[in-house]
Assembly symmetry: C2
Homo-oligomer: 342 residues x 2
């Protein structure tokens, strides 16, 4: 006996039909509001249903209809709180349309990600939401399966794919400009490993703000997008002769790591070094000091993600959402209207 086959016989549609004195088709009609059923029968069926404690079997329905009403959600790493918050938002958006989310975490392992996607395909999810830069293999896999896939946490156009993400370049530009408005002229960047070919949007935004102000690029620290990465990137940057007075970190986690590194070095934030982070997860609100951050439009992106993945023929293209600066203590003082002081 398979592990999942519970002993007690489950109540089935046939049982309900018998008790109500109708055919199974009618039970289907009242359950799905299809066809037309007289009020009286509807009533009897309803009664039979909760008399028996009947629970429809969604798998059987999926088999019959071809739709599982399930959406796969592959997150780069659930241990990153930002993605936890994101998952919650997407789940809510899916629920609003009557879909459930099958959340899965790759934790940075490509092999694991591939296995997860394979699994989701076999479960016949109605759509797939894949976070970050899925490798070619992954894209090929989903394309072959014919399952609608939309990528999130992606910052720019991906030929032939449908993607949604924050306007990271503009967010980074705004963050850096804000730092410049605070009077900084040496502004470092904490970011991930260099992309092969082409510059990362956040790096481009940082560079653009600097260029617009006629400033030279500050030092760059490259590391993983987690706390440890931010820590080591900051150590690396501040080990150099010429230290910046401000930092733009490409993720909240990196900023938190950088904060720890600076603290260790005896550098005060924001007095000695200012920081602005990117993402805007809750963690930034309670760090010491609270982080000024560029917050992604999580709810809006979630809604869009669900909308797109449920479309019969989602038009390929990139959907960009604003990422807005949230002013807090880590970049210095502000006047009541938000004007940077100092």
């Amino acid at each position: 006996m398979p592990v999942g086959a519970h002993g007690g016989k489950r109540v089935t549609r046939a049982d309900v039909a018998q008790l109500a004195g109708v055919s199974t088709a009618v039970v289907s009609y009242v359950l799905n509001d299809t066809g037309s059923v007289s009020a009286a029968t509807r009533q009897r069926v309803r009664e039979a249903i909760d008399m028996l404690g009947y629970q429809p079997n969604v798998n059987a329905r999926a088999l019959a209809t071809g739709s599982s009403r399930l959406i796969g959600f592959i997150v780069p790493g659930l241990s990153n709180p930002f993605f936890g918050e994101f998952a919650v938002a997407v789940e809510a958006a899916a629920a609003a349309r009557g879909y459930s989310l099958l959340i899965t975490s790759a934790e940075g392992d490509e092999e694991v990600e591939r296995r997860h996607i394979q699994n989701l395909i076999e479960r016949r999810v109605d759509g797939l939401l894949v976070g970050g830069d899925a490798g070619h293999a992954v894209v090929a896999l989903t394309a072959a399966s014919g399952i609608r896939t939309v990528l999130f946490n992606v910052f720019d156009e991906r030929p032939g794919l449908v993607t949604v993400g924050p306007d990271a370049a503009e967010g980074a530009r705004a963050a850096t400009s804000h730092l410049i408005a605070h009077g900084h002229t040496e502004i470092g960047l904490v970011i991930g490993a260099p992309e092969t070919g082409g510059m990362e949007a956040r790096e481009a935004g940082w560079l653009r703000a600097l260029g617009d102000a006629g400033l030279a690029p500050g030092p760059i620290g490259r590391a993983e997008f987690d706390r440890a990465g931010g820590y080591s990137a900051a150590r690396q940057i501040f080990a150099a002769e010429r230290r910046p007075t401000a930092l733009f970190a490409s993720s909240d986690l990196q900023a938190v790591g950088a904060l720890a590194a600076l603290h260790e070095l005896g550098l005060r934030v924001p007095q000695d070094v200012s920081i602005v982070s990117f993402d805007g997860s809750e963690e930034t609100e309670y760090s010491i000091p609270a982080l000024t951050t560029v917050r992604q439009s999580v709810a809006e992106m979630s809604a869009k993600l669900i909308e797109l993945v449920l479309m019969p023929e989602p038009p390929s293209g990139h959907h960009s959402f604003p990422a807005r600066l949230v002013l807090r203590a880590s970049c210095g003082e502000h006047a009541a209207d938000g004007t940077p002081l100092r």
Copy 2:
């Protein structure tokens, strides 16, 4: 046409069978390693499978076998990073046994939780992992469905249920004793709302350590188990005349909130106030200062959870796992061997 019904016809078992010149039964045999198949046919079937890019339909299999090989995981709140980390560990444990995890987040809303459970039942999950104090309704629901359910994030015996959780009382006791060893005599507690009837394990542990040392209980701040809760609990405690010199916080998030509150009040940690937290998520490693914490045995609990939920007849009872003190900066200095200084 239902949304999920993709136009392109999917490759089915019959197609594979035809190409390989065998019956669908044989295809099943090679896919599941059941029955006996000659090496030659096995080979042909294998070829046909990847020639066609065949993907088995797990729903159909679930219908036929009665097992979905899916385990439902209902987490109190994915926006709490500790649960994100926990989910990752449980997913790994499930994967090791060939099961997938259907992760779902209730975010504290009982109604949402009920809906999720209902949904999981209809999807015929093979087991249910429910975090925290599921209301009576929930327990009734799962009991009626006959789905094996095990509760996690629970600290003590629940009559008739199978539960796993950290030894919170002992963890809290150890944390508080450690604070006492540092020389503190006024030790406050940050914890959730009082349970109706009976004391929370963490509160009991704190009290016991104090009693064992002949100390009077310090002030208690009650609030939600999140950062905001820790913040307000700390503000509340330190608004009083008599301020403690140390705090035991019942969750990492609360400790982080308390840290922010203390910082705001100009109180230094650990010089003015020492803190120890409970859970041991990554966030505690990079707070300022890094938090001494009582770390739960996440991997061990995850494995146990999966083991129990997969047992045909899991024996009801509570499975307790050690929660171990991890020494860091928030409680003061230590000698090389970990002996508290000061």
